[in-house]
């Protein structure tokens, strides 16, 4: 029977208990989390066969560009070219499905579930969504290369890696943003696009009340001009599809952001600005609140937020320090569990509970995620998936959650000992009502459905 603190460690900080977690967690759940940080592997073997950004850039984006160019050439067969483009896109979608399945299976079996939760958290913070077709091929590589290796470094390093990744530059339209006074701007009619600059300030760093103005957005956008991906006409080179700074597109002259003037320094301007933005008190406050909201409650106590805020400030924006401060928060170790697991978290937790196996085909699990409105890498907006319980628990969503529990129960009832599973998944945290309903259920199928549908399993 797991203790309440083990329950919290495995559900709230982890991805739901499995037998391996329960065996390892020992007397100090906090140490279990810290040990995972110490043994952090930025490139797990499970992902080694997935395509890298460079590979996708060369073999997907590059080819796609060639195919689209070929379509426009004289004498091209439009139907044939269209078919080739469609086939290429289909390959990308197939690759994405593979990526999502691998990621889900890894989350369902990893011995470092806390690390995985943090990766998902930061990946959502810096959302790149396949709602923009251009990034379908890149989202997985983006998370593996721009997010995962940077979750324990300086926050500015994470921001910088994200900004340089083609997925983000494509998703938020920076690839075609051109300084109006740059050589490219003077020659053509193209100009500035503010999208990435705005979301960088609003969603990624300072927060919407962070004290920046429309003027600041524009200045940031100017600094970001020239930060592009090498798929534009006239830029074909060996590294097609990869990050590329194009000086000809960069807005010349000094820029003033949040009252500080940055002299013209080409590609380096963004680095300077990112360091300053990340050191801004608004960023500390914004990140602290977001993290507390994710790990403690939709309305976290101000005192908890303040502690995280000062850990961020004291360490100069160090994410290891911030994460350790989170583990040390007394508020993070209190019950009842008030956060609702997102559908993605619920599916992972269910899979983990059965040792990574729910005897359902990957296609059916994928269909479930779609049915529950939570397909990985497809957040509705750059703000990412919402945190609040009310978003995930509507009447229709509740019924669909229970559908998922019934589906799994039907598959897994054989060979499952309900009492043992209840002790592993809920332990001491099971309420008397839940315990009573499960033990008195008229069938094993119902008992298992109730266990998975219980608030103690649906929440964390």
């Amino acid at each position: 029977m797991i203790s309440n603190s083990a329950y919290i460690a495995m559900h709230r900080f982890g991805l739901g208990p499995n037998e391996s977690d329960a065996a390892r967690i020992g007397a100090s759940p906090q140490n279990w989390l810290l040990a995972q940080m110490q043994n952090f592997n930025p490139a797990p073997a499970a992902f080694q066969d997935l395509p890298t950004t460079a590979y996708i850039a060369e073999n997907a984006l590059g080819k796609l560009k060639q195919l689209r160019d070929a379509k426009k050439k004289k004498g091209a067969d439009p139907e044939e070219s269209q078919k080739a483009v469609k086939a290429m896109l289909k390959t990308l979608v197939t690759d994405l499905t593979g990526e999502i399945t691998t990621r889900l299976n890894y989350a369902a079996t990893t011995e470092t579930p806390f690390i995985e939760r943090l990766v998902h958290f930061w990946s959502n913070h810096f959302t790149v969504s396949t709602t923009r077709k251009e990034v379908i091929g890149l989202v997985g590589a983006y998370e593996r290369e721009a997010i995962r290796p940077h979750i324990f470094g300086k926050f500015s390093g994470l921001v910088f890696a994200v900004l340089r990744h083609p997925a983000m530059l494509l998703y938020l339209d920076n690839v075609r943003s051109i300084g109006p006074h740059s050589p490219a701007g003077k020659r053509g009619k193209k100009g500035l696009n503010e999208n990435l600059a705005r979301e960088l300030l609003e969603l990624h760093t300072l927060g919407v009340d962070g004290g920046y103005s429309q003027q600041d957005v524009q200045e940031m956008a100017k600094m970001l001009t020239g930060w592009t991906v090498n798929i534009m006409k006239g830029l074909q080179g060996k590294d097609v599809g990869a990050f590329h700074f194009v000086k000809l597109m960069h807005e010349p002259g000094s820029k003033t952001l949040l009252g500080k003037t940055y002299p013209e320094s080409g590609e380096n301007e963004v680095r300077q600005a990112v360091l300053d933005i990340c050191a801004h008190p608004s960023t500390a406050r914004f990140l602290a609140r977001k993290m507390a909201q994710h790990f403690i409650s939709d309305n976290p106590p101000d005192s908890a937020v303040k502690k995280l805020e000062s850990a961020y400030k004291r360490s100069g924006g160090d994410l290891t320090a911030l994460t350790k401060a989170l583990i040390a928060l007394p508020d993070a170790w209190k019950l009842p569990a008030s956060k609702v697991k997102t559908p993605h978290e619920l599916v992972i937790a269910t899979m983990r509970g059965f040792g990574g196996d729910v005897k359902l085909k990957p296609a059916l699990i994928a269909a479930t995620l779609k049915h529950l409105g939570h397909v990985p890498f497809s957040a509705p907006s750059p703000a990412g998936w919402p945190e609040r319980a009310e978003h995930w628990i509507s009447p229709e969503a509740m019924i669909r959650r229970i559908d998922w529990c019934r589906l799994v129960a039907a598959k897994m009832q054989r060979g499952t000992d309900i009492e043992t599973l209840m002790a592993l998944l809920l332990g001491e945290a099971a309420s008397p009502e839940t315990r009573f309903a499960i033990t008195r259920a008229p069938s094993k199928n119902d008992a298992l459905t109730l266990l998975l549908a219980s608030p103690e399993f649906q929440r964390r």
Partner: protein, 404 residues
């Protein structure tokens, strides 16, 4: 009364009426008449719809120059000055039937450029992004007189309840489901384990209630089509099913529909292209609604709004950035249509908001307030004190709703 006693009681009460035994394990299905038979549907176009593309002011002397390559050269004529985008033919037909009124230069009180703040403010009904944690449609539901607290009067079409409809009043969300509902024995136990979890308990109760209504309302053929909802024609089937829910005599009076994808930062196109495709999909939804709501169309008003408009000028990438004022639509059999509401300031640089956006001249709250007052019959004092607090200065508009 114990749980089992209550269950038996509800069983007996329900079987004679609707045969809806399973659903009565939870409150939610009402049998007494509702206080209004009017229907209000609010369609939220998320992402900032470009009002200058949807309703191009073709007669404005500065329009073509200001919009550059994004300027439309042709449209479906409204009043000789404004036109509708060519993809909006079904709306044009409504306009000609005097069942559509077009608003231009309209904006919520929001003057910044964050989608999320803009949407929060539009939906919470205040003048601040975090001004309320409930939506103005939920507060509207609360203002209906003589109401049972647990009645399902609000419906979100889609899996989630948007902020505009979210709050203390119970509301349902509905989207097609392919599985059978749990049996009553399991529901009993679910009720037991959700007894101390109000969010879960209420969500399940409302979910079951609305499915029961949908199940009774939909024809076999429609149910069959719903099973294939992912294979295309989603707008039509959704509209058909949702219309049935709205037609039920005990069903929802207020419904919301979310339509995303209006954030046209790049390559938005003109009469063709990505924005045109969005408008076309939206128009198909409107067409399906008008058709399927035919029996109650005279009692229906549909509001179509977006959180903000877009910049007048094309940005560097063939799209537009976040702007301020946009266009809005009010349609339905209850609407006194065939009108255009626009205090038009023009598109020359000096007439723009911050030299870049269409000038906001109508407060969107004036539109909302007028519809609540004239369509749903809610007293203005309730509207200005509870539903749109602090909105007196926004005023109201007259003659939006047909005298019935």
């Amino acid at each position: 009364m114990t749980i089992m006693d209550r269950r038996k009681f509800l069983y007996t009460a329900a079987t004679g009426l609707a045969g809806a035994a399973t659903l009565t394990a939870f409150p939610g299905l009402a049998t007494a008449a509702l206080p209004t038979d009017k229907r209000l549907i609010v369609v939220l176009l998320r992402g900032g719809m470009d009002g200058l593309a949807a309703v191009p002011p073709l007669g404005d002397k500065d329009y073509a120059a200001a919009r550059g390559k994004l300027a439309l050269t042709d449209g479906l004529p409204l009043d000789g000055f404004f036109a509708l985008h060519p993809a909006l033919a079904p709306l044009h037909a409504l306009y000609k039937k005097k069942e559509l009124t077009v608003f231009h230069g309209i904006a919520s009180p929001y003057r910044e450029r964050s989608h999320f703040d803009g949407q929060n403010l539009l939906e919470n009904g205040t003048d601040r992004p975090n001004g309320a944690d409930s939506g103005w449609l939920n507060r509207t539901l609360a203002s209906f007189p003589d109401e049972r607290a647990d009645r399902v009067k609000g419906l979100a079409i889609g899996q989630n309840v948007p902020l505009i409809l979210y709050g203390k009043q119970p509301v349902a969300s509905w989207a097609p489901s392919r599985s059978k509902m749990p049996d009553s024995a399991l529901l009993d136990q679910l009720e037991r384990i959700y007894d101390n979890d109000a969010l879960f308990h209420n969500a399940l109760a409302q979910g079951l209630a609305i499915h029961e209504i949908a199940d009774e309302a939909l024809s076999g053929e429609q149910k069959q089509r719903m099973k294939n909802i992912n294979r295309g024609n989603a707008a039509g089937v959704l509209a058909a099913a949702a219309s049935k829910l709205l037609q039920d005599k005990n069903g929802a009076r207020i419904a919301t529909v979310d339509v995303g994808g209006w954030d046209s930062h790049a390559r938005q196109g003109t009469s063709g292209g990505s924005l045109a495709n969005n408008l076309k999909g939206f128009a198909q939804g409107v067409e399906a609604f008008t058709k399927n709501l035919a029996p109650i169309w005279d009692k229906t008003a549909v509001l179509v709004v977006t959180e903000f408009g877009r910049t007048v000028h094309e940005n560097g990438t063939g799209g537009t950035d976040h702007g301020t004022a946009s266009a809005a639509f009010l349609m339905g059999g209850a609407v006194n249509g065939g009108q255009i509401y626009a205090d038009w300031k023009g598109l020359d640089k000096n007439s723009l908001y911050q030299n870049r956006d269409l000038m906001p001249t109508t407060d969107m709250r004036a539109l909302f307030k007028s519809v609540l007052r004239d369509h749903l019959g809610i007293p203005l004092s309730t509207i200005e004190n509870v539903i749109f607090p602090g909105s007196r200065s926004a005023g109201t508009l007259s003659k939006l709703i047909r005298k019935s």
